[in-house]
Subunit: 223 residues, 2 copies
DNA sequence: CTTGACATCGAACAAATGTTCGGATAAGAT
DNA sequence: ATCTTATCCGAACATTTGTTCGATGTCAAG
């Protein structure tokens, strides 16, 4: 007699992997074999065990002995950010309209720790501190922190750190390439955009995060 | 026949508590009853169980069902800081000019984790998310997160969440009490202040932190 | 179609983990 | 001393959890 059986799930392995990641994000702990089984409606714990072994062979997960909840994620599946730990971002100095931003390769003045989930790929990110209110149209004010990813190009609509060659000025604007000119749109929704020739726009990086501390506590910096 | 027994350990309870904390710091997971037993050289798991129940009664720990590794630390023992500085803040809902903010006692929609160093006393804090651009004069825009401490009064100069009784409006302004009137100063440095009679100002809380995520990643929420 | 690698299945076993129970001892109050 | 409460003890029980096993089904390549 033929046993009835579910169709082979093509990427059950990846489903398991991301299930583990999601579970960890929510519970701050790893699931048991049977919790995975129930969560993904798998018929038997042995199926889970089978895939866990393959994942371990592939180095994607690790396991701690035969202890309960001994699964450990080694690599986070695409699209799912790693858990909320704090990662240090180098603080390079001030940003002001009148001067170019510090070179990304300069020695950091300090380190500022940011929750990983707020950022994308944390590689190469650096932090600047807004000096003065000259960039108020970007909705940032004196004392704000901004986290920047150093890139040469940004997609249309992204907020960029721009150095304007003709007027020797740093500015934060949403970037739109339109034919041979560039539209630089302030974050402030009612303010007029700035149109400049593409060749005077030098993109320094992409703004990924902004934060403002209002309670007078010392900035979250570590030496 | 007299059974030989170790002298009563006066503060075994606290030993257990800090053992759990140390275990968590090192392993990023909570110990089992028997791991505590072995670690502290306690004769029986029932002794551990006994103290765990007392700790739970005292609210110092929590337990997740009868699952393996179901212990959760509620309060960290003195001298031992939490392993990461991220503390969960309840997210209560939107803030918009047209409506009052959610009641601080309402059930949180989710939790958002913020580095402790950016906040003062994290007790009672809650998070709101800005809806629309009606509070642009406070230099916050649609989608920004703001962390609020619920207080009845603020010091002069602090940024407050204010409900204006006469015009049924929520606003974020720097608060200055001047004789019998209140000056509400926008964060935007060039914008004119609003003067209102003190009795129409209802302070809902004090803004301690603002953050803006620009990279389109899902907000760091759990729960 | 045939084949072989891969995947699923159910059932059971083995180990771990949480919990209960009756009784004993220790420590402090009276 | 006597009493009361808190704590400890060992053993067993009940669940949960990890793992094994043999049989069987699925799927893509040849």
């Amino acid at each position: 007699m033929k046993r009835r059986r579910a169709r082979v799930r093509r990427d059950l392995r990846n489903e398991i992997l991301s299930f583990i990641a999601r579970w960890y994000q929510q519970e701050r702990t790893y699931p048991t074999v049977r919790e995975i089984q129930k969560g993904l409606k798998i018929s038997s714990p042995s199926v889970v065990d089978y895939h866990l072994r393959r994942l371990e062979e592939g180095g994607l997960i690790g396991r701690v002995g035969r202890r309960a909840r001994g699964i450990r994620l080694r690599h986070w599946p695409d699209g799912l950010p790693p858990p909320d730990d704090l990662i240090p971002i180098p603080f390079l100095g001030p940003i002001a309209a009148g001067q170019p931003i510090p070179n990304p390769n300069t020695e950091p003045i300090a380190w500022i720790r940011i929750p990983r989930t707020w950022l994308g790929d944390p590689a190469d990110l650096f932090a600047l501190r807004v000096q003065g209110n000259s960039m108020i149209d970007a909705l940032v004010k004196d004392g704000d922190w901004i986290i920047v990813k150093p890139v040469q190009q940004v997609k249309n609509g992204e907020m960029a750190v721009v150095w304007l060659l003709d007027r020797h000025e740093t500015t934060l604007k949403h970037f739109y390439l339109e034919e041979d000119r560039v539209r630089l749109q302030p974050a402030h929704p009612t303010m007029a955009p700035l149109y400049v020739p593409a060749e005077v726009v030098q993109i320094q990086g992409k703004v990924v995060h902004i934060l403002r501390n209002l309670n007078g506590f010392p900035p979250p910096i570590e030496g």
